[in-house]
């Protein structure tokens, strides 16, 4: 008996409610939104009835009328990366507390795709946009054009003057080198992220600056590039172990790459930290596991997401909110992948 006698399953709209109650649509609307200009008695009566019949306003129509959708788009590289998953979870939880929903997009680190997503955000009238992904300068122009609150997370964009929260990635790269220096390392390699990632680039700059400050030489052949995945770290290790001249330490753009890299090294008999020290970035949960125990640099995901949401809500509530840039301090977590040389 699919769809039996009672076809009355059709959802009520505000006009139905108004008719059934013998009042006007405006009154229903006012009762619904807590708008002033309605007697307490009528409001109570309407709300009670609404609750009874289970009426809920159509969000689409509300949004079309108001010109704003209570959805915030979250664009990031790949949610399978625990760092992003943690950010996603926190941001989603915090925003939902303020009545916003989150639309998730994985750009897969593809610039073209990302630009397309921003365009999509525009035609969708999202309430706001949170970007956590690599990008090029052409993005800036499109963002300025966007006319909706934007928050950049852990990324710098040239000429972008909106709000952002990020780790001091330069410092992060710098203290990674410092830690290794103190352990006596002088030949230090680097695995970077995508060349368009400002976070990766800044870490690299910090690394180069530290090398330079302490008179250490830089070797192009000890540079690799990763796309932040475990598998890639593993592949890089294969190449790495076959090199005749190896550095005694590697700084690696993220924990996931480092974990894959270590896996590959171990498989080829390279012991960590006896033969090679490793420092990476993120401090994802699994980096503390027995058998992994990465020395890594914490990005303070919790603070990052809190600030990101706070910045977004500020812009959402006041039109005239001036942009803020919040910079978090990196924290070195020493575990067991670094040792004196």
């Amino acid at each position: 008996m699919r769809r039996g006698i009672e076809m009355k399953n059709k959802k009520y709209n505000i006009s139905d409610i108004a008719k059934m109650l013998g009042v006007s649509e405006s009154s229903v609307s006012r009762a619904l939104n807590g708008t002033p200009g309605i007697s307490d008695a009528l409001r109570a009566k309407i709300l009670a009835f609404i609750d009874e019949v289970g009426y809920r306003p159509n969000t689409l129509a509300q949004s079309l009328s108001k010109g704003r959708l209570n959805i915030i788009a979250l664009i990031l590289g790949d949610v399978r990366n625990p760092f992003y998953a943690d950010l996603t979870f926190d941001i989603q939880r915090l925003l939902s507390e303020s009545g916003y929903m989150v639309m998730l997009f994985n750009s897969e680190y593809d610039m073209t795709r990302e630009l397309e997503l921003i365009r999509l955000a525009e035609q969708f009238n999202f309430a706001g946009l949170i970007l956590i992904t690599a990008k090029e300068s052409s993005t800036t122009a499109r963002l300025q054009h966007l006319d909706m609150p934007v928050v950049l997370v852990n990324r710098i964009l040239p000429h972008f003057d909106g709000s952002s929260v990020l780790l001091d990635n330069f410092k992060a790269g710098y203290i990674a080198v410092m830690h290794l220096l103190e352990l006596g390392h002088s030949k230090i390699g680097f695995i970077s992220g995508h060349s368009v990632s400002s976070a990766s680039n800044q870490r690299y700059e910090g690394y180069r600056q530290a090398l330079s400050n302490f008179g250490l030489s830089f070797h192009e052949e000890h540079m690799y590039e990763s796309d932040l995945k475990i598998e890639t770290g593993y592949q890089i290790a294969k190449d790495f172990v076959s090199q005749p001249e190896k550095p005694s330490a590697m700084i690696i753009v993220n924990d996931l790459t480092a974990i894959g890299f270590m896996d590959g090294c171990k498989q080829h008999g390279l012991c960590i930290p006896q033969n090679l020290s490793i420092v990476s970035f993120d401090n994802i949960r699994m980096s503390s596991l027995l058998g992994i125990e990465l020395t890594t640099i914490d990005q303070h995901v919790d603070q990052m997401s809190e600030h990101a949401v706070a910045l977004m809500l500020k812009q959402l509530s006041s039109e005239t909110h001036r942009p803020e840039r919040i910079v978090l301090d990196p924290t070195l977590i020493v575990r067991k992948t670094t040792a004196p040389i």
Copy 2:
């Protein structure tokens, strides 16, 4: 100079385009949607102009008019769990290829929250709903009422007659025991998931059935319950190691719990697999890492997401599509956490 001379930043709407071109809104709409009933010449002209001025239709208005939003809601427990993150990523990629966007919700395994989310889906006119989460029977009623395509992933719901794709979780639990039996184990414990998770329950049933079939006794004191998180596995291990009488093998509801559990065991000097064999479920990427190398049961995430999307698209395209239930076969992946007793 915020908002300089050119305030003309306002987005064009279909009426603007029509006027500028001296045609009717209907023609623009037809050109846009590939609707028949317009000459090729006019269509080309309109499309060219639209492309030039960069006009894009307002999706909200489209949806309100059509009564359907091209967004599919994805409700799951916690995206920080790699199993869910993988599903999310795949589902999002596949659906976006068909022009749908994905709205992500973390129910945090909370039934109340989940029901609220389903209600939200209703008032939002989503195109469809994909559910990957634990739930109780009261959910079914609400789903039937929903009047939008629903696909259940890896969950069974009493009296639910919609489409679903799931692992044969009973068999999964059964073959976990079989594997341990072949290695000579007879005292086998079990760490389950949330009591409302049908996946966990089915695995447990398979486990009990296998024990019973082979005359092994069941011991209540070797049962634990996890919320699928690493930390929880770790906590359980603390309790486990202090037990005077231990089983020689444990079956654990998911890889994450198993990883935390192993971590805790190792920390207390319990060697795996020498002192304790472990079989878990999921086969997430990190379970194959050196130093972890879990013996686990693969759920075939890729197939699961492909089927989920296919089932959704089928329902979306044809009103009269009858529900399908797809059952995937579990695959045992033997690594290094199981050994002969």
